[in-house]
Structure formats: structure tokens, C-alpha cells
């Protein structure tokens, strides 16, 4: 019965150990979309640029997998991502863009500076479609198969090192 005395101390030690462990290895704070494996919710976005068509859910069910990239001209990591998207495009990947909270002149300027890997760009001025896709920031990308089903979500910029992963996900979506 004497040992019972040390129970509070042991609990305290356990609590401290837990706290130290969490401090040393912070948890993952990214919020993934729960729509993976489900069809893209219906949407129709006006064109972000006059020279390019807008984007709707129907465009994403055209029989071939596509990469939907959520970006913005005011997003710094998006600048570096364009180069990688260009490289994916060179390998035959069809890429569409959703420009979040953006103006036509800013998008045009962004593409003129960094390159333009997009076939279509929809303008999402109040993040409505971004929210309906379960995306929580820019940049994010979705691999959508030919039937319009979301197969993979990539949170953050697609880096050079992520290219094989993205290619594999697009291959799986065929």
C-alpha cells in the first residue's frame, strides 16, 4: 500500500515525458482533404485570363487524368513550383490552375515572369472552390482521374524531388 503514494509522482513524470516528447517531435499540422477517392464537387469558375478558358468540374472528367494546381500570384512558394510544373507539362501532364483571390493583371504578370504550365485557369476570388475541395492553402495540387474522381492531394509546393511521386499518382489514376 506504501507504493500508492508514488502514483501522483509517476503520473507527473508520465505527463512531463509526454510533453517533452511532443516538444521534441511536433505533430503534423497539415489538414488533408477528405475528398480523396471522391468525385470533384460541382463547380464552374470564370476564366482568370481573357486568353485562357476557365475551369469547371466537367472539364476534369474528360477521360484522362489531370493535375489541378491551386495557386496565386501573391504566393511565394508558387513561384518556384511553376518550374516543376513546366517540367511535368513537358512530360505530357495536363495541368489546370485555380487562381485563388487573384486579379487578371496579377495572374498575367505572374505567368509572364515565371512561365505558364496551365491549359485552363479558373478564378476563385473568394476561395469558395478551394474550400469546397477541402484545400487549406496555396499551393496545393490534386490528381484527378478521367472520371473526375480526386485520387491524390499534394499539400505545399511540388518540388523537383516530388516529380516521380506525382508521375506515379497520375499513372495510378489512368
Amino acid at each position: 500500500m506504501r507504493a500508492v503514494r508514488f502514483v501522483p509522482l509517476a503520473l507527473l513524470a508520465l505527463l512531463l515525458a509526454g510533453l517533452v516528447w511532443r516538444l521534441a517531435t511536433p505533430g503534423d499540422t497539415t489538414v488533408g482533404s477528405k475528398l480523396q477517392g471522391q468525385p470533384v464537387p460541382a463547380f464552374a469558375l470564370a476564366a482568370a485570363l481573357r486568353a485562357k478558358p476557365g475551369l469547371s468540374a466537367a472539364d476534369l472528367a474528360g477521360g484522362k487524368p489531370r493535375l489541378v494546381n491551386i495557386f496565386a500570384s501573391w504566393c511565394v512558394p508558387c513561384i518556384g513550383e511553376v518550374k516543376v510544373l513546366q517540367a511535368l507539362k513537358a512530360r505530357g501532364v495536363a495541368i489546370d490552375g485555380i487562381a485563388v483571390r487573384d486579379r487578371a493583371e496579377d495572374v498575367a504578370d505572374f505567368l509572364a515572369r515565371n512561365g505558364d504550365p496551365y491549359e485552363r485557369i479558373g478564378s476563385d476570388p473568394q476561395s469558395g472552390v478551394q474550400i469546397s475541395l477541402g484545400s487549406s492553402g496555396v499551393p496545393e495540387s490534386f490528381v484527378v482521374d478521367g472520371r473526375g474522381v480526386i485520387r491524390y492531394q499534394h499539400i505545399g509546393a511540388i518540388e523537383q524531388a516530388d516529380m516521380p511521386l506525382i508521375m506515379a499518382k497520375l499513372e495510378d489514376a489512368k
Binding site: 499540422t29 482533404s33 476570388p125 474550400i131 475541395l133 492553402g137
Partner: protein
């Protein structure tokens, strides 16, 4: 010399802008004309977690995405949608993570059972104390 230049350069540095150039969405910081609907919207916004400032509700957060979500909530309430339907629409997309309201999923059972457990422990301790005193 190098240090001076570096210090001057640092003084001129500007934090990278992480916000868009567009104004906030119409209903993000504006109350609905119908006070009953606004109260419903406010109650829901207090319980929806901001995706950017993850410790805050969208009612408290100044993030643009939170503003857009307040706009979305107010628009849907004004259109006659029930708060519970809007919450479940968001949970479908972001998981129960997005809602501050505890769910009845098995993962939350310890949360609901903890008060009962603590009451039992308290009763046990009390009984022990009373017995000690009597003896």
C-alpha cells in the same frame, strides 16, 4: 564595412507578403441584417476552426481564408441553410478537425466518459477519507 552593409540591408528588408491584393469578401466582416440569422452564423463561426491559425475559430481569426469562410457561412445561413448542414458540409471536406464541437465518434468517448470516471474516483477517495476519520 560588410557588416554595416548587411545591417543596412536587413533594415530595408520587408517581410514577404502572404496576403492577396483583393479586398475581404463581402460578408466576412459584416453582420447579416436579420439578427436571428446573424446569431446563428456567429454561433457556428465560433465553433469552426481556422485552417490557417489553427488554434483560433474563424470568428476570431484575421486570416483571409477565415474571412472567406465567414462569408461562406453567412451567405448559406442567409439562403436558409441550417447551421448543422453547413457544419457537416465542412466536416465532409476537412474532417471533424474543422469543428470545435466534440463529436460522438468512438475517438471522443474517453472525453465523454472522463467526467464519470473522475466522479467515481472522487467518490472512492471520499469514502476512504470518511472511513479513516471514523476509525
Amino acid at each position: 564595412m560588410k557588416r554595416v552593409v548587411l545591417a543596412l540591408a536587413l533594415m530595408a528588408a520587408w517581410p514577404a507578403l502572404a496576403d492577396s491584393n483583393l479586398p475581404p469578401a463581402f460578408w466576412s466582416d459584416r453582420q447579416l441584417p436579420d439578427p436571428r440569422q446573424e446569431a446563428q452564423a456567429q454561433a457556428l463561426m465560433d465553433e469552426i476552426r481556422c485552417l490557417v491559425c489553427q488554434g483560433q475559430s474563424i470568428a476570431d481569426s484575421n486570416a483571409e481564408l477565415a474571412g472567406d469562410m465567414r462569408d461562406l457561412v453567412r451567405r448559406r445561413i442567409a439562403a436558409g441553410e441550417k447551421p448543422a448542414a453547413i457544419r457537416s458540409w465542412l466536416v465532409q471536406r476537412y474532417g471533424s478537425w474543422i469543428s470545435y464541437k466534440p463529436t460522438d465518434e468512438p475517438a471522443a468517448w474517453p472525453l465523454w466518459l472522463a467526467p464519470l470516471g473522475l466522479l467515481l474516483v472522487g467518490a472512492f477517495l471520499l469514502r476512504h477519507r470518511i472511513r479513516l476519520r471514523r476509525s
